[in-house]
């Protein structure tokens, strides 16, 4: 029994090695991988890179005073301070952790809902499929940002509301993808064979269909994280995010809006206030987009072996 399992696993390991090789060969993919890893390290090491004050919510940025005018970078504040003397360095470091938290939470929950709904619809077809897919049709018949905005207003502004709204807006895409994969894979001979020897539905779904649908999900999810973070930051920028002082890139960019004109003799006196949080957000999104793009090139059977 064990040897047959190993035999079955081996093509997947080969596939994985092939993917790694293709990613290694493309400089853009490597750039994506490096960025995503770098931000991952920043997120994990946040308590060491920017130690929070004992007994306080670490996501709340410490402030030195209440003076509105941002201060330039100094030894005490390596990236300077933004409006209201919030330390920018602390903000962008913990902002990375906050971004990862939202991205992973939204994608994770969306994937779970998507697999549940998509496999029900794609495996059992018929009425269940019809009802579930019409539901996704309705949710997808909206521009995502606007639906998310209305939901956040309904739930009350804040990061939890944004997360919940993004899950509600995001899962239909995953459900559609999983359903499509299920329809395609159910028609394969090996599923028929598994049915004929009396495998249970659960076993067929979990052991035979789902593992074959994983790669498409991976591509979709990696391309999705960038846009999820963009929409989350945009909602926060609009003022629907957490209360002021929270380590959140969207809010930090929003705080810079009053300082784009600089002072009389130096128009770019407050350059750090709008440049630094924006670069973090931009590079994070670009890293994920590059990685997702690399996955797609590698995994798309139409493009892969050219």
């Amino acid at each position: 029994m064990k040897t047959s399992m190993e035999l079955k696993e081996s093509p997947r390991i080969k596939e994985f090695k092939f993917i790694l090789k293709r990613i290694r060969d493309n400089p853009l993919s490597i750039a994506g991988l490096v960025l995503v890893t770098l931000f991952g390290i920043i997120a994990l090491m946040a308590p060491i890179l920017a130690p929070p004050i004992e007994g306080r919510d670490p996501y709340v940025i410490p402030r030195s005073g209440y003076y509105p005018e941002p201060q330039p970078p100094s030894p005490e504040h390596p990236f300077g301070t933004t409006e209201g003397q919030y330390d920018l360095y602390y903000g962008v470091i913990w902002g990375t952790r906050a971004a990862y938290r939202i991205g992973v939470l939204v994608v994770g929950v969306s994937v779970i809902i998507g697999i549940l709904v998509g496999s029900l619809a794609g495996y059992y077809k018929g009425v269940i499929d019809e009802i579930l897919m019409r539901l996704t049709d309705i949710l997808l018949a909206f521009p995502g940002l606007i639906l998310a905005m209305a939901l956040v207003v309904a739930f009350g502004p804040g990061l939890d509301s944004i997360t919940l709204a993004l899950i509600l807006v995001g899962w239909p895409g995953y459900a559609r993808l999983v359903r499509g994969e299920f329809l395609r894979i159910s028609a394969e001979d090996f599923v028929e064979a598994a049915k004929s020897i009396g495998c249970s539905d659960l076993r067929i779904i979990m052991r035979h269909i789902l593992p074959n649908a994983i790669f498409s999900l991976l591509v979709y999810a990696s391309l999705d994280i960038g846009s999820i973070i963009l929409v989350a930051a945009a909602l926060s920028f609009l003022g629907l995010g957490p209360p002021e002082g929270y380590a959140d890139w969207g809010q930090l960019i929003s705080l810079s809006r009053n300082w784009i004109t600089g002072t009389a003799n130096n128009p770019f006196a407050y350059w750090h206030v709008y440049t630094i949080p924006g670069i973090f957000l931009f590079l994070f999104v670009m890293g994920w987009n590059l990685l997702g793009d690399a996955f797609r090139d590698v995994l798309d059977p139409m493009l892969r072996r050219r």
């Binding site: 853009l28 909206f142 940002l145 606007i146 905005m149 209305a150 960038g226 609009l238 960019i253 709008y274």
Partner: protein, 345 residues
């Protein structure tokens, strides 16, 4: 119109009914998250009514089962009563109507740049595949696609408005704003550029364009990558087809083959995307208008959302949803017209 196209259009129009019902049900479901007193504001058309909230709750059955409430609400929406906006001090429908031209102006200037620019870049990227031009286009596309629109807007404002004192935010300069509001200037469409041309008022026209430049650059940079990517892969697919080889074998020069044969077929998926992109611009407008204080529907919606002006947000979501559904319909019909194979599905 051929018979098959007519059948297709009829079927597509019929499908519109369940989609619209589903969409209104969804928005209605969102309104159910508010308590009856907050919901009552959706039915108010005049601030004086606010004193009698209890009457409104009773009149529209806001404490009744949801299907009765849905029906009442839908009837209100159909009669054009989208409620009273606290943040703007006017009826939501009027607010949308008066603010829409500004957004339309932004979209009208950005969309052709996005579509034509995207097609052009995608095409040369495909024709010159794996050259420096192709790599440059692809890198630019990834950058554009990853840039947060609000940050790009702020950076542009910081450089041009803050640094060089040109391209200020807003829709018009103060003098032009006063002129437009005065009796001398007749408003026809609400699009300042068009109205200025009709009024033969060139200073206002130039001022309007001057204020459009940065928001249009922002919207174009963010969205051009989408069209470019689709055009590139579609063009590559066409260039690999047998009919291209056949055309070349017949001795046609490659310019004719690329322009007359491949490009035409490659454009088909771009049509779909362009329609959806245009409808989706409303999302982009929310952010871009907020950054540039460009007072269109998006600016209004964002303001309303922050002030928890529920009727305005719900009304805007409904408006955006309907616009999106209509755009989808137009795209599908156009698609069936261009590509007869679609009608048979």
């Amino acid at each position: 119109m051929s018979v098959s196209l007519r059948v297709y259009v009829a079927r597509r129009l019929l499908l519109l009914i369940p989609t619209l019902i589903g969409m209104t049900l969804l928005i209605f479901a969102i309104t159910q998250l508010f308590d009856p007193i907050e919901r009552a504001s959706l039915y108010v058309t005049d601030p004086r009514q606010a004193r009698s909230v209890q009457d409104i709750i009773e009149k529209y059955g806001l404490d009744k089962p949801f299907y009765i409430q849905y029906f009442n609400w839908l009837m209100q929406m159909l009669s054009g009563n989208l409620g009273w906006s606290q943040s703007l001090h006017m009826r939501v429908l009027d607010a949308i109507i008066t603010r829409f031209p500004a957004t339309a102006e932004l979209v009208i200037f950005s969309v052709p740049l996005i579509i034509l620019g995207g097609i052009f870049l995608g095409k040369i990227s495909a024709v010159k595949r794996n050259t420096v031009i192709d790599h440059a286009c692809r890198v630019m596309a990834i950058i554009g696609w990853s840039l947060p629109s609000f940050w790009l807007g702020i950076m542009l404002l910081a450089i041009f408005y803050g640094g060089l004192s040109i391209f200020p935010p807003g829709r018009l300069s103060v003098w032009a704003e006063n002129l437009v509001r005065s009796g001398e200037f007749k408003t026809y469409t609400g699009l300042y550029t068009v109205d200025a041309i009709i009024n033969l008022n060139w200073p206002v026209f130039i001022d309007a364009i001057y204020h459009l430049i940065l928001p249009v650059i922002t919207l174009t940079t963010i969205n051009i990558a989408l069209i470019m990517r689709v055009m590139r892969s579609s063009m590559l697919e066409q260039l690999g087809r047998m009919y291209i080889t056949a055309a070349k074998a017949r001795g046609l020069d490659s310019k004719t083959v690329i322009n007359k044969h491949a490009t035409r077929n490659a454009l088909i998926p771009v049509v779909t995307l362009s329609g959806l992109l245009t409808a989706g611009m409303l999302s982009g407008a929310v952010i871009t208008e907020t950054v540039f204080e460009f007072k269109g529907v998006g600016y209004f919606a964002a303001r309303a959302a922050v002030q928890l002006d529920i009727p305005a947000v719900i009304g805007f979501a409904l408006f955006a949803g309907i616009l999106f559904v209509i755009a989808n319909l137009i795209v599908d019909i156009l698609y069936a017209y261009i590509d007869p194979r679609i009608r048979l599905r």
